[in-house]
């Protein structure tokens, strides 16, 4: 069990629309990698089962490494591009309360989503992650893939509602004092 202190009001109010920092973005990316890998594995297993039912032969994608690499690359490209194009956020970003917007703060276009995904690959593999340092050292907390796509990442979660919940928890039901820490 981990003991996590309640969020401080100073942290949870008035941050909507602010540039998101490195930790939130890294956590969101980790969640996305986990989710996309999980879905990929599930998809491959389902495909395998369907092929076995239809043809009677078992098909293992990992035995065809080039095909597996191409399928995985395409899947990752679709996973990120589609979600960014549709809502400006991936599953991991939704969990962490982040959103991709244009440099000015408007919703991004499909073209920007494509560029951002390609830029993500470049930042990860060609610069070996050095391109992400911009999140800490640039005025507008933009990584290399943000510069390629003309985007920025902001906090999008309803911090005001969180503040209300925090007050509510502090008050507790019917005026009873609630504990100052939550155990998760």
């Amino acid at each position: 069990m981990t003991t996590v202190p309640v969020p401080s009001p100073a942290l949870t109010v008035g941050r909507q629309g602010n540039y998101a920092g490195a930790v939130s973005r890294l956590a969101a990316f980790a969640a996305d990698v986990g989710a996309s890998w999980g879905l990929y594995t599930l998809g491959v297993a389902l495909l395998n089962a369907a092929l076995k039912l239809a043809t009677g032969h078992s098909f293992t994608l990992s035995n065809h490494q080039l095909a597996a690499f191409i399928v995985l690359t395409l899947w990752e490209f679709l996973y990120f591009t589609y979600q960014w194009a549709v809502s400006g956020k991936t599953l991991g970003m939704a969990i962490l309360g982040l959103q991709v917007v244009t440099r000015a703060g408007a919703p991004i276009s499909g073209r920007q989503a494509v560029f951002r995904t390609v830029g993500l690959g470049i930042t990860l593999f060609l610069t070996l992650g050095i391109g992400f340092l911009g999140i800490v050292y640039q005025r507008d907390r933009r990584a290399l893939n943000d510069y390629i796509a003309g985007t920025a990442v902001v906090y999008d979660w309803d911090a005001r509602a969180a503040r209300l919940r925090w007050i509510a928890r502090k008050e507790g039901p019917a005026g009873t004092a609630a504990p100052q820490e939550h155990i998760i």
Binding site: T12, Q16, Y19, S24, A174
Partner: protein
């Protein structure tokens, strides 16, 4: 009948005269010009409304009023359409309202599950760590003070001059 026959005749004569003369006089009077001359404001000023109100039995009036009929005539939908809910909501200081009432616990019970609360905590922790990394990362390269003057967010979302709260 009058006991005095002369008086009776005079009375009849006066009546018949009046029947002829009064309509002639009424026709001759220009009512509009009289109304034009009347200073309504002065009349209103002279009226002691308080005295009139004191004499009015409000309870009796209320008893006579058919409230149901009035309600039936009111177009609630039209009234609702006229109300600017956003303007009303903007005027409410929700934070202070919640702090003063038990609305907070109602909100907590009705709108949050454990998952939402856990998400709140994780996100808030993330924001705290983001600030920490930004501050210390830049302090390490001697830019700690500059960070304070960096913009808080994109101009469309936070305004062009908003400064980061680190």
């Amino acid at each position: 009948m009058s006991p005095n026959p002369i008086g009776n005749r005079v009375e009849q004569l006066a009546q018949s005269l009046a029947e002829h003369i009064v309509p002639m006089i009424v026709d001759a009077i220009d009512i509009d010009s009289i109304i034009d001359k009347v200073d309504v404001e002065k009349i209103i000023e002279r009226v002691d409304v308080d005295k009139i109100v004191e004499r009015v039995d409000v309870d009796q009036i209320i008893e006579r009023v058919d409230v149901q009929k009035i309600i039936d005539r009111v177009d609630v939908q039209q009234i609702i359409e006229r109300v600017d809910i956003n303007a009303i909501v903007d005027k409410i200081d929700i934070d202070s309202l919640v702090e003063q009432t038990e609305l907070g616990s109602i909100i907590a019970r009705s709108t949050t599950g454990v998952l939402t609360e856990v998400l709140d905590v994780i996100r808030a922790q993330g924001v705290g760590l983001d600030d920490f990394i930004l501050r210390w990362g830049n302090r390490l390269i001697g830019r700690g003070k500059k960070v304070r003057h960096w913009p808080a967010g994109p101009p469309l979302l936070v305004g062009p001059k908003a400064i980061a709260p680190t």
